[in-house]
């Protein structure tokens, strides 16, 4: 199967993202399954960042560090990323950093031949297309759209720039006999979507009508998307003064009957923890999107990690049910958001959805989002069916009828203190307090029964299992396949629903490995807690980059 990874590197502000986006769009438009991901520093200009674009015929949706084609936009980028270039890979650059380099002097061509210095990046895009054997017209269509608001002159100049880059690179390729690729148009179209888009669309699908959040990478994109479309879709959006406000606002909106959410990253989530406990006590549905980045504290603001699983599971003082989900890609993320709102509503609990910078920023190829399987469900009480309304009525499964204020004659009370069924403060330790503690526990048990078992992949005949969760799924599957090809009988058990962990029949007699993008092995701790499971070995990272199949295989092989 064709599998080509193109890495574009350069400083912030230098156009790495644009180059990557245009290339990815072009390849996607040609019918290929593109997977692109980026890693970048926490600064607005300078530093060295990269975008990697992996192209194949069917979706792999897993990151690869090593480049088949590397395009550094400056010499620092060359130095930082050249070690990633595969043997035999193509280095495309404006200068001959080393031999062999396919040299295409982007800036010179832009200045001298196009007469537009800022078109240098378009020359580079064209050159990339040339290296890859992409039809220049396919690229032009994408470029035209990209520059559509800039006027006909600029469009024409960029076309020219792209064509010149294409020609120069293509002829350099021919000379060097270095570029084996070609991407003829295919009769297939994938959605090319990032988590940061699929998550808010999932919220839209779920019927979310309110979001309040405070900007924090890598979560900001979620509220930004909803802000952009909110006015048209009827979603109330508020940029709060801080995360505490954001979370309490979402709780207020939810109490008043609206599906409501907030989004943040670890530090902001820490500030929401008290309010999560409030949602638990008041039994107010709440969805919190926690986009992880490496901590502790400010950590690495623009990097990726799976470091907040145990924190999310245990967030909030006191004891109350909550759910934690961790989708692995945009499609699962869309579904997870709908699921999160449904669970939150059904059990009247806070639900935390864990994503991370990798999942937020990476663009996956999706064949079909299967919206028919992501359907919003609501669990409204019927005001007419209630005679004397009690917000916290004691029921067998602990779930009380939920009405919203103003909906009917029934008054709705919510209390952060321990309360009686009417929502009034109680200090009746003999009867009411134990009854309410037990009610919340029953609800938690009901919630646990509703949680989904992990996904098994090639596990049946496996001797060893990789245990994983969240956004590493693609890499872990790829590692399983790769190690299978080496003769290892490996399988995968992958968790997308992490808390409460349901009953699960663990296959016995298999060697278990937890594979996580953190240093602490948090999933293994959780499985130990829940199932008394012990892992044989751990495959952990936590350096701020996404886990790749190659890294997993390397660490696995080191321990074998």
């Amino acid at each position: 199967m064709m599998d080509c990874n193109i890495v574009i590197a350069g400083a912030a502000g230098e156009g790495v993202q644009t180059v990557g986006e245009v290339l990815a769009d072009t390849l996607s438009a040609l019918g290929y399954a593109v997977f692109s991901w980026q890693e970048y520093e926490s600064r607005v200009r300078g530093g060295q960042n990269s975008v990697a674009i992996r192209v194949s015929e069917a979706p792999v949706n897993a990151p690869v560090l090593e480049a088949d084609v590397l395009l550094p936009l400056n010499s620092g980028a060359y130095q930082k990323y050249v070690s990633r270039l595969n043997p035999g890979g193509v280095l495309l650059a404006a200068e001959g950093y080393r031999d062999p380099t396919l040299v295409v002097p982007f800036r010179e061509i832009a200045t001298e031949e196009v007469g537009l210095a800022i078109a240098a990046n378009t020359v580079a895009i064209g050159a990339l297309a040339g290296v890859l054997g992409i039809d220049p017209e396919a690229l032009e269509r994408v470029l035209d759209r990209h520059f559509q608001n800039k006027g006909p002159e600029l469009i024409e100049a960029n076309r020219r720039a792209a064509r010149l880059g294409h020609e120069r690179a293509a002829s350099a390729c021919r000379l060097a006999d270095a570029c084996p690729w070609s991407f003829p148009a295919r009769d297939q179209r994938y959605y090319l979507t990032a988590g940061t888009e699929a998550i808010p669309i999932g919220a839209v699908r779920a019927g979310c009508r309110f979001i309040a959040a405070y900007p924090m990478s890598p979560a900001t994109g979620v509220i930004k998307y909803l802000a952009k479309h909110g006015e048209q879709l009827g979603i109330f959006v508020d940029q709060a003064e801080d995360e505490i406000a954001a979370c309490n606002m979402a709780i207020g909106a939810s109490f008043a009957g609206s599906r409501a959410m907030t989004c943040t990253s670890g530090g902001g989530f820490a500030l929401m923890v008290e309010a999560i406990s409030l949602a638990g006590m008041t039994e107010t549905p709440l969805v919190v999107l926690l986009a992880q980045r490496p901590g502790p504290a400010t950590g690495l603001p623009t990097r990726t990690a799976q470091g907040d699983l145990l924190f999310a599971v245990h967030a909030g003082h006191g004891e109350f049910p909550k759910a934690v989900l961790a989708p692995s890609g945009p499609k699962e993320a869309l579904h997870a958001m709908v699921r999160a709102f449904n669970l939150a509503d059904r059990f009247q609990v806070p639900v935390i959805v864990l994503s991370d910078q990798f999942l937020s920023d990476a663009r996956f190829s999706v064949t079909d989002f299967e919206l028919d399987k992501a359907v919003p469900e609501s669990f409204p009480a019927d005001p007419a069916a209630v005679s004397r309304y009690q917000r916290y009525a004691l029921t067998p499964d602990g779930i009380s009828p939920r009405l919203y204020p103003g909906q009917s004659e029934h008054l709705v009370a919510a209390d952060s203190d321990e309360h009686d069924p009417d929502g009034h403060i109680t200090e009746d330790l003999a009867v009411m307090v134990p009854a309410m503690v037990a009610k919340r526990r029953r609800k938690g048990e009901a919630l646990q029964r509703a949680m989904r078992a992990p996904e098994a992949y090639r596990s049946e005949d496996a001797d060893e299992l990789f245990l994983s969760w969240g956004s590493t799924r693609g890499a872990v599957r790829e590692a399983v396949d790769g190690l299978r090809a080496e003769g290892r009988r490996l399988g995968m058990i992958h968790f997308s629903e992490l808390w409460p962990l349901p009953e699960f029949d663990w296959p016995t007699g298999k060697r278990l490995w937890n594979v996580e993008n953190n240093a602490g092995g948090q999933l293994s701790s959780l499985l130990a807690r829940r199932y008394r499971l012990s892992v044989h070995g751990s495959i952990l990272a936590g350096d701020g980059l996404p886990l790749t199949a190659r890294t997993i295989r390397r660490i696995y092989n080191e321990q074998n």
């Binding site: 006015e231 009827g234 309490n248 204020p405 709705v412 009370a413």
Partner: protein, 288 residues
């Protein structure tokens, strides 16, 4: 059923007998009655503290949330259902201390809320520690040598940021307070009503001490005059001046833009968008 009775609640009141909070409760019930408010369309929001227990003591919808967080909760409620009359009942510790940032930023949004601050100049529920309005020099639990922090002047901050209405009442004068509350509740935008509420369990002065010092807003005070209001509030008498202090020029309120596009229905009444809408959003990610 008389108009005030309509707000009767069965919950046992946990305030000390004789606490001036009762006066505030009475004034609020009267104001609501005068406005012909139905409990059904009323939503009280509070944090934690003695003041914050108030919503339990009248018939209404209520959310008795976290210490300091009544305002953001109320904003969410407002956003989700602007048809509710939403009133925040809070203490000065709740609202100026733990929750200071929210009131500050609520002033930016101008939500159609009445923020009713029971100011007893202490943290009463937690047994009398200093609060953001405790006078300098007072001996308090964590300040055995006397407080060395100057008080915050939130009514002045509200004036400075063009709050829709800024008023001060006295808990022992429920009639005037009722009048102020009627004004506040009917004023679109953020109305801050601070109430002098001497705690009879932890405060050093009896109610009479306050009564002696309380002065009405000067007869010639123009509530539209910002500088005059600031001067008044910043003066030594400012602390005890009661009445309508300031009325900001009308300006858009929180969510106006959203409402003009989508109407004033509760968000709860909007069904999730049809699949076609979501498909359309997703189609933007198919390249051609």
């Amino acid at each position: 059923m008389s108009r005030t009775d309509r707000f009767h609640s069965d919950a046992e009141v946990q305030w000390c007998p004789g606490c001036p909070n009762f006066g505030i409760l009475t004034a609020l019930k009267k104001a609501l009655s005068e406005l012909n408010q139905s409990p059904r369309d009323l939503c009280l929001v509070s944090g934690i503290g003695q003041a914050a227990k108030l919503p339990h003591y009248l018939a209404c919808n209520f959310f008795n949330g976290l210490h300091g967080r009544a305002i953001p909760t109320a904003l969410g409620i407002q956003a989700a259902n602007p048809q509710l009359t939403t009133i925040v009942t809070t203490g000065e510790g709740d609202c100026y201390g733990e929750g200071g940032n929210h009131l500050l930023h609520a002033l930016r949004r101008n939500p159609d809320l009445t923020v009713l601050v029971h100011n007893n100049e202490i943290y009463a529920l937690t047994k009398g520690q200093a609060s953001p309005t405790t006078p300098v020099g007072e001996v308090r639990g964590l300040h055995p040598q006397g407080l060395d922090l100057t008080p915050l002047n939130f009514p002045a901050i509200a004036v400075l940021h063009d709050a829709a209405l800024v008023a001060r009442g006295f808990a022992a004068d429920p009639e005037q307070l009722k009048t102020l509350l009627v004004e506040a509740i009917t004023t679109p935008g953020l109305a801050l009503v601070e109430v002098i509420q001497p705690c009879i369990s932890w405060n050093p002065h009896p109610i009479a001490w306050y009564r002696e010092r309380i002065r009405p807003v000067p007869a010639d005070h123009d509530p539209a005059d910002k500088v005059a209001a600031l001067r008044l509030l910043d003066s030594p008498e400012g602390r005890y001046t009661v009445g309508l202090l300031y009325r900001g020029r009308p300006r858009p309120t929180y969510g106006d833009r959203f409402r003009s596009a989508h109407g004033r229905h509760p968000l709860a009444e909007l069904a999730p968008p049809p699949t076609a809408v979501v498909d359309q959003l997703l189609d933007a990610f198919k390249r051609s």
